[in-house]
């Protein structure tokens, strides 16, 4: 095995790949060859580093230089300066990692400082396509110990003691689920992994599969041993091509090495697994719909019970866990239940990965201990709100969750606190909103998503969400009546109570939570026909502030429908609100802030 003096880690996560990191990787290889450094420097393609905002990201070791927002052209400078001459190209470093002329370790950068990486521990560190790198970081050790040293019930006990709860949203105790499946009667059992990540803006499961696919294989084999299954399915959406590809490579490598297959580690335990691709229907993240889809049927939920632990894939007892849940398992085995349960709060143990997006400086993936407050996540890790705007609310849990207003920003994040606030953990999307977001519009956005994704099997979800959306549309257009607000609430509660599956039961949450915390905004839309945030177009009027207008005519030149009249240098300009299409072009163009909307 060759030893290199320098490792160049290029992020190969979807975020960085879409901003050309693969071309950057190619360019590095090309220039390293050209400078005859191929025996000294190694280029490694890794999974997501999490700080997607700063992508494409490259880290050069042993110095740990954290280069951000690179372009292909920048590679020349890094090779000729850093690799050949040993001078770090400070201009290209992530700006927070370079202070007062000194490079800081990335672990001291605000974004990483408060994080604790368990599920993401190998993401951005190893090359996900090389099994030896996973093994070097204790990979498959947990599986080896479990198979040679532990009884299935001991494994389940460790998972129970750890306090791990399902990371896919509901937060059901993982150990109990394992226990139910182990105790269920059946000649054949299955383990399955839910990688049908569908919440808009959530991408933690994709990042684990792209950055550390072997951890899922190892954890599923452990689960298979614990519950008595010899076959695993990973249900993953076809929209994640990089994740699918790397997971397949990992499965093939594990088979070649005998880490999957017959008599693993010389024991009588045999385990095999395969990937099932989903076509990206949101409802297939629901466990019974997912099972139907794996079986080749239409992805629709069925009533529970029976739960999958009793009657799952092909009617056999099936253990179904989410990607992030599995990613915790090998570490729990290796470091013990006590270690895991020492992290987090009383009822929510361990860490949680969040995908931070919206009006936030550090868009990306973060893993923080349960019990971290929303404020710490948003300001310390997320770097706060851009452009000096004011924080208004944070939406957690995607279309199933709700909006948490600024008043509750010091709430420690755990399953129960979020539910108490009318939201939920969900898979871990966290969308930050500032003063420019209209809460009626936000509720409409999420409801629009659930209306599209409702499978249509049960009436409350199929018709109820559609009617709710119509009412929200009415309110946003300024045609809402006070009765609409009460009807919305009644309908929301009915849908929650009467829907068949989690999709419908949680679909009204974005509406209910915004009604609860931001009733004044709804009332402004209904009573005053105004949108306080200036988002709902039908309620907006643009006008020229006559005192401020300098008669320059720039607004009239920019207007795409010629609805602004006036004479350059002579008269104040005027907007014809009848013709105005509210495109905002004049407001952005005016150099004197003489145009207002409201």
């Amino acid at each position: 095995m060759e030893l290199y003096r320098s490792h160049i880690l290029v992020c190969g996560g979807t975020g960085c790949v879409s901003s050309d990191s693969l071309k950057i990787e190619e360019r590095f290889k090309e220039l390293i060859e050209k400078n005859d450094l191929q025996n000294e420097a190694k280029v490694v393609k890794t999974g997501c580093f999490g700080l997607c905002e700063a992508g494409p990201i490259v880290i050069v070791y042993p110095e740990g230089a954290f280069y951000s927002q690179l372009k292909v052209e920048d590679v020349d400078a890094i090779v000729s300066e850093h690799l050949v001459k040993g001078r770090i190209v400070t201009d290209l470093l992530f700006k927070e990692s370079y202070k007062e002329g000194e490079m800081q370790s990335i672990n001291d950068v605000g974004f990483y400082k408060k994080q604790e990486r368990v599920a993401l521990r190998n993401c951005g560190v190893i090359n996900p396509e090389i099994i030896e790198e996973y093994i070097a970081y204790d990979g498959y050790e947990a599986l080896g110990r479990v198979l040679t040293d532990m009884k299935p019930e001991e494994v389940i006990q460790v998972v129970k003691d750890s306090g791990l709860r399902g990371r896919g949203g509901g937060g059901f105790p993982t150990g109990l689920k394992w226990d139910f499946t182990a105790k269920a009667d059946g000649d054949q059992k299955y383990v399955a992994c839910n990688a049908d990540e569908g919440d808009p803006g959530a991408f933690m499961d994709r990042s684990v599969l792209e950055g550390d696919p072997h951890v899922i294989i190892e954890a599923m084999a452990i689960a298979g041993y614990a519950v008595g299954a010899n076959k695993g399915y990973v249900y993953i959406r076809a929209e994640y091509p990089i994740a699918v590809n790397r997971l397949q490579i990992a499965i093939d490598q594990a088979k070649d090495m005998g880490l999957l297959g017959e008599n693993i580690f010389g024991t009588d335990f045999s385990f095999d697994m395969e990937i099932r691709l989903g076509a990206g229907a949101f409802v297939c993240g629901e466990e019974t719909a997912l099972i139907n889809s794996i079986e080749g049927k239409r992805g629709m939920p069925r009533p529970r019970p029976p739960f999958p632990a009793v009657k799952g894939i092909f009617d056999k007892p099936t253990l179904l866990n989410n990607v992030e849940t599995y990613a915790n398992i090998p570490q729990i085995i290796l470091r013990g239940a006590d270690w895991f349960s020492s992290i987090g709060t009383e009822k929510s143990k361990g860490t949680k990965v969040f995908a931070l997006g919206g009006k936030i400086n550090n868009t990306g993936l973060l893993e923080i201990p349960m019990g971290t407050t929303l404020r710490e996540a948003i300001y310390d890790v997320g770097g706060g709100i851009p452009n000096g705007k004011e924080f208004k609310a944070v939406q957690t849990g995607g279309p199933s969750g709700g909006c948490i207003p600024a008043a509750h920003i010091d709430t420690p994040i755990d399953y129960d606190n979020l539910i108490e606030l009318g939201s939920m953990m969900g898979s871990g999307g966290m969308i930050v909103m500032d003063e420019d977001n209209c809460m009626v519009d936000i509720a409409r956005f999420f409801l629009d998503f659930t209306v599209e994704e409702s499978c249509g099997k049960c009436t409350p979800c199929r018709d109820g969400t559609k009617r709710m959306l119509e009412m929200l549309d009415k309110i946003a257009e300024g045609k809402g009546t006070p009765e609409d607000l009460t009807k919305l609430q009644t309908l929301a509660k009915t849908i929650k109570n009467a829907s068949l599956c989690g999709l419908g039961q949680t679909a009204p949450n974005p509406v209910l939570s915004t009604l609860h915390y931001f009733m004044d905004e709804y009332e402004a839309h209904v009573h005053d026909k105004k949108c306080p945030a200036g988002v709902c177009k039908a309620l907006l009027n643009y006008m020229v502030i006559e005192d401020k207008c300098k008669k320059c005519g720039i607004c009239a030149a920019k207007c795409p429908v010629n609805c602004i009249s006036g004479t350059k240098g002579k008269t104040v300009y005027h907007i014809d609100t009848e013709k105005c299409i509210k495109c905002n072009a004049c407001l952005e163009a005016c150099p004197f802030d003489a145009i207002k909307k409201g």
Binding site: Y4, E40, E132
Partner: protein, 122 residues
């Protein structure tokens, strides 16, 4: 994979591949690799250091490079940083001398005084 021992052996062999990326403190050997250093022969010195570290399976030792430190007449040179110890600067190095430094200084903790900048300047 037939046994846990087999896995552990593979892990030991694989560790070299990734060792550099762990944030171990340990020893840092920094080789001057500016134009002056390279033209004076710093590259074979560095390769010799890297090979020796690997051959002896030294943990927590990183070999890295830096630019010109201003004493170009003394190149090739490198500096050894260890936590809790003064920095040691070795000058006029070659591949053989580098091996000796690894053996005596890095492994046995005895600074090779005759090669240091202090000895040269006297």
């Amino acid at each position: 994979m037939k046994s846990l021992e087999e896995l552990r052996k593979l892990r030991k062999d694989s560790l070299d591949q990734v060792d550099m990326r762990r944030s171990g403190k340990g020893t840092r050997i920094v080789v001057g690799m500016a134009t002056c250093g390279i033209s004076a022969g710093a590259r074979p010195v560095m390769m010799s250091l890297v090979e020796e570290v690997k051959k002896r399976n030294l943990q927590d030792v990183t070999v890295t490079q830096t630019g010109c430190i201003g004493a170009c007449r003394l190149e090739p040179m490198f500096e050894v940083y260890r936590t809790g110890e003064e920095k040691v600067t070795y000058v006029h190095m070659d591949a053989e001398k580098a091996k000796k430094v690894i053996a005596e200084h890095i492994v046995n903790g005895q600074v090779v005084s005759e090669y240091t900048i202090g000895a040269y300047e006297k």
